[in-house]
Symmetry: C2
Subunit: 288 residues, 2 copies
């Protein structure tokens, strides 16, 4: 895991400073958010799915970094005053607090655009697979995926909460990009068959849903020291959560069921699925 | 010209409604801005450069629409309160006035992302050329190009005006995407040689610069009826313009010189360059 994270971190800063001549301020803003201590789950999924399909994970590095850039841009835009109006992100001032709203907007736009440039810089991926990968990324990051989830999230503020609505928002808002991360790794291997792509899809859907449920549980059961942010904020903000809709016990059971299902989906990878199995278990048992 | 514009307009709405199941509100916001009567200069350049290089313009349609989507997203984000705070765009309420700020932000994000999905849907373009085309688009739309120009534009508000600064901002903020439009057409033809690419680059740089200068001249010499927006707004907003820095006479001369240079750059296309020659002349003599 740490090897992958180091690879992603050095890839990200290299790819960022590569393009951006004479644009110190905006590049600093982009880098500020990119290096703000994320878990790097998405890029790790890309690298490891590439390896599990029989490819070289380094060939998937540009795609992995592209996914993380898109994740980061979405957080920057999500924190803006016209959206969630969050002054803090992971204990540090959010991008618009540190660099100004207009620059945060452009840092997000810049990261989203750089993600596609970066993805297309991939070496050793067959052209047809690379085109398919980047098209999948755009589809799952856009109105049919992540952006669409953000829209539904805004719209659901005025609707009565329901499990179905919550699942739809989560499937798009966070699930779509996690799915993209897994699928992109498969494409990067140049060796993924239909079975592997289906497995990556099912696995990523399940860990994506489990991840959201665990998030909601931790907001109730954790301490602010463990979590690194205030607990109980969901209830305070009247947020639609799994805990509010299903109770804690059922939420825990559902997260466990989804984790089991994710692991079962890895069957076609046999022994090569063990890292991904561990990852699913670690995410379900995390304390922050 | 009108044939191209019709092709682009029907392409845009088809490509937009293709992806966006169950997202009526945001798709409406995206379509509102996409169909707000732009001149479609960029997509027309893409289609015609494809033809001039010996290709079929219809093969370039997805790339042409992608460029126009990126142009449109940049206008939506540019109009936002944290940027230029413009309530109107081409005489109609700007996107955030019509749909709300949060939805305008996401409509812009959605269009930028859709542009890359659309570009990669291109048929009949060799994979290598398509990858090169979309990488070029991302590079010229991002921090090294258009987004970088918007950053420099913001930063120049606090600096003393100079011709050099103005030219740098314009070269990136509007010139980069016009250049992308021309180059993408060449790539789409599958037949462009180095000479044609260099010609497209020079032609688009020249008409891009001339376009800006004519804009500044019209703001002083036109009437609001002809222009369809208030005249004299540059001086009122204390904007750095060619007219303020060079005077009207020299601005007119420079626009003429750039138009001549654009036309001269078309030499390698021989007779196939005549539409592009007319386009350069039309743009330099336009009244709005």
């Amino acid at each position: 895991m740490q090897g992958y994270i180091d690879l992603v971190n050095s890839g990200l800063s290299e790819l960022l400073y590569d393009v951006c001549d004479g644009q110190d301020y905006i590049v600093e803003a982009m880098n500020y958010s990119l290096s703000n201590g994320g878990k790097r789950i998405r890029p790790v999924l890309t690298l490891e799915f590439c390896r599990a399909c029989g490819g070289n994970p380094e060939d998937a590095l540009c795609l992995a970094c592209a996914v993380e850039m898109i994740h980061t841009y979405s957080l920057i835009h999500d924190d803006l005053p016209c959206m969630d109006n969050d002054d803090f992100r992971r204990g540090k001032p959010s991008c618009h607090k540190a660099y100004g709203e207009e620059y945060a907007l452009l840092a997000g736009d810049g990261l989203l655009t750089l993600a596609f440039e970066t993805a297309l810089k991939s070496k050793n991926i067959e052209s047809g697979n690379l085109i398919e990968a980047v098209k999948t990324l755009a589809n799952l990051a856009g109105v049919s995926g992540m952006v669409g989830g953000q829209v539904l999230d805004l719209q659901s503020e005025n609707l009565s909460p329901s499990l179905e609505k919550l699942q739809t928002v989560d499937r798009l808002k966070t699930g779509a990009l996690i799915k993209a991360a897994a699928l992109l790794g498969c494409y990067a291997s140049n060796r993924a068959d239909e079975k592997m792509l289906a497995a990556a899809e099912r696995y990523s859907e399940c860990i994506g849903s489990a991840f959201q449920i665990v998030d909601d549980i931790l907001d109730v059961t954790s301490t602010s020291e463990e979590l690194g942010k205030p607990v109980g904020s969901d209830e305070k903000n009247n947020k639609m959560t799994y805990v509010a809709l299903m109770g804690i016990k059922n939420s825990e059971k559902e997260a466990e069921r989804l984790t089991d299902e994710a692991i079962a989906a890895l069957e076609c990878f046999a022994d090569e699925g063990s890292f991904l199995k561990e990852l699913a278990l670690t995410l379900s048992k995390r304390k922050s």
